[in-house]
């Protein structure tokens, strides 16, 4: 894997620190008038999601992380693993429930997801920004009930629970923004 000098640092660059892959979130040059320069970076651990701060002597090089984002179709999951397929090569791979994490609650099958690979192994799954899912259970809305802010919980076919406006009925299709986990709009029947 290539290595990067600190003067190539920029947000989005993937580097290795202490054996883990990190994504640079923020890069700041610190240069005293007299004295050597440093790069202070905020980096996100791509395995744990934790954000930490590190400082490098300017001019040092750092090993790049072998990170690849691949568009893959979600197929199904069995007890342990979630299965994805590259629709160009038909190559399949599986990700653990831990890797899939919260993304799993938006997936029912056939969605195109971004699969992040580290040294060829999946480490994170990003679902499409919007998914369309059917409500399997929600209580009828009560007119004039504003104590709950005009929303009520609704369970979707994948098991996820979102808050929806009171007029939404059981069985309707919803468009959900997976980045916020919020109801975006009603969706049309296909």
């Amino acid at each position: 894997m290539a290595s990067y000098s600190t003067n190539q640092f920029k947000p989005g660059l993937k580097i290795m620190i202490d054996g883990d892959p990190f994504n640079i979130v923020e890069n700041e040059m610190v240069k005293p008038g007299k004295g050597q320069a440093f790069n202070r970076v905020r980096v996100r651990n791509l395995l744990t999601g934790r954000v930490i701060e590190r400082t490098f002597k300017s001019g040092d090089s750092v090993e790049g992380a072998d990170i690849l984002d691949m568009e893959m179709q979600y197929l199904y999951h069995d007890g342990d693993a979630w299965h994805f397929m590259n629709i160009a090569s038909f190559e399949q791979l599986q990700a653990s429930a831990q890797t899939v994490g919260e993304a799993g609650q938006w997936l029912k099958g056939q969605e195109m997801c971004s699969v992040t690979l580290f040294n060829g192994e999946p480490i994170a799954i990003t679902p499409p920004n919007f998914v369309v899912l059917r409500i399997t259970q929600t209580d009828p809305g009560v007119r004039g009930d504003t104590a709950t802010g005009g929303t009520k919980p609704a369970t979707l076919e994948t098991g996820a629970v979102v808050r929806v406006p009171l007029f939404i009925e059981e069985g309707s299709l919803l468009k959900i923004d997976t980045r916020t986990g919020e109801y975006a709009s009603r969706a049309k029947e296909e």
């Binding site: 620190i17 700041e28 040059m29 610190v30 240069k31 005293p32 008038g33 007299k34 004295g35 050597q36 320069a37 440093f38 930490i52 701060e53 590190r54 400082t55 490098f56 002597k57 040092d60 750092v62």
Partner: protein, 298 residues
């Protein structure tokens, strides 16, 4: 702002001078890169500060002098840095660094009436932050502290005391002197003496100061080193550091050394970043915002 500065010095009887921006040598400081121009008459360097030329004037008997001029540094570009910027540099004959700090405070009072500028030694600041003492701590202690602060140290860097102290200082300023505070920090470790006098003692310290305003390094001053032999020794040390870092060797400014040999009067000098001063006064976040054509500058 430039008018107010000139009015202040006129009132103090300090002479305005104007020295060449192109010099025969660049900065010897290993942390400062000079821009070179190849002219038919030979290679010339854009000055990184007017220090050498102004010291030659002092040795020639100029008395108190100040200068407002452009300075140039290689490859510096960030929200706080530009490769071309404006410096105010001045020298006061017979002053030590404490008297000069007091004068910097009087000048700043023109721009921030009533703002209190604290004064504390680097050792005191380290104590406040809970960091190791920069003068007395072993290199291993400094390296461990840097690691605890998240510095990624290559094996040679862990033994580079000067690098570890450079980090420590930036860390002390960031943690100990955040936005809202304004302080002179003074009495530096010998490794960071630059061209300041060393005061013997336990520990010996360099009579250097910096002014930190809202986390920004605004000014750097010295009780100036006047001894030509000591100055030559500092240059030799800088040459060694440059060689170790793979930088071009410094050209020694023999004219400066000759001036020191002829007799630089005891004095204190300071350089203050005008763009940063304006940036802080205007509440801007980037020096480019307060520079004419700031977006286009180096």
């Amino acid at each position: 702002m430039l008018g107010e500065i000139r009015a202040y010095f006129a009132q103090q009887g300090v002479l305005e001078v104007d020295t060449p921006l192109l010099g025969h040598t660049g900065a010897a400081d290993p942390a400062i890169g000079s821009l070179a121009l190849d002219l038919p008459s030979g290679r010339r360097y854009l000055q990184t500060s007017p220090e050498y030329a102004m010291k030659r004037l002092l040795a020639a008997g100029s008395g108190d002098i100040y200068q407002l001029c452009k300075a140039f540094r290689e490859e510096e570009h960030s929200p706080l840095h530009r490769g071309e910027f404006t410096l105010l540099e001045w020298y006061r004959v017979g002053f030590d660094h404490h008297q000069l700090m007091a004068e910097v405070a009087r000048l700043l009072a023109v721009f921030w009436p009533g703002r209190v500028l604290e004064r504390l030694t680097i050792a005191h600041l380290a104590q406040q932050v809970g960091a190791p003492d920069p003068h007395l701590s072993s290199t291993a202690v400094l390296a461990n502290y840097a690691r605890d602060c998240g510095v990624v140290l290559t094996p040679p860097a862990a033994h580079d005391r000067s690098l570890l102290l450079d980090f420590l200082l930036t860390h002390l300023v960031r943690v100990g002197l955040p936005v809202g505070r304004a302080a002179f920090i003074y009495d530096f470790p010998l490794e960071q003496a630059a061209y300041a006098r060393v005061r013997p003692g336990h520990p010996p310290v360099a009579e250097r100061f910096e002014l930190i305003l809202d986390g920004v390094e605004l000014a750097n001053g010295y009780h100036e080193l006047c001894d030509p032999l000591a100055q030559r020794a500092r240059h030799a040390a800088e040459a060694l550091v440059r060689a170790a870092r793979g930088l071009p060797p410094p050209l020694i400014d023999e004219r400066l050394l000759a001036a020191l040999a002829a007799g630089l009067p005891a004095c204190a000098g300071v350089a203050l970043g005008i763009d940063r001063l304006l940036m802080l006064r205007e509440g801007a976040a980037n020096v480019g915002e307060v520079m004419a054509f700031g977006a286009e500058t180096l």
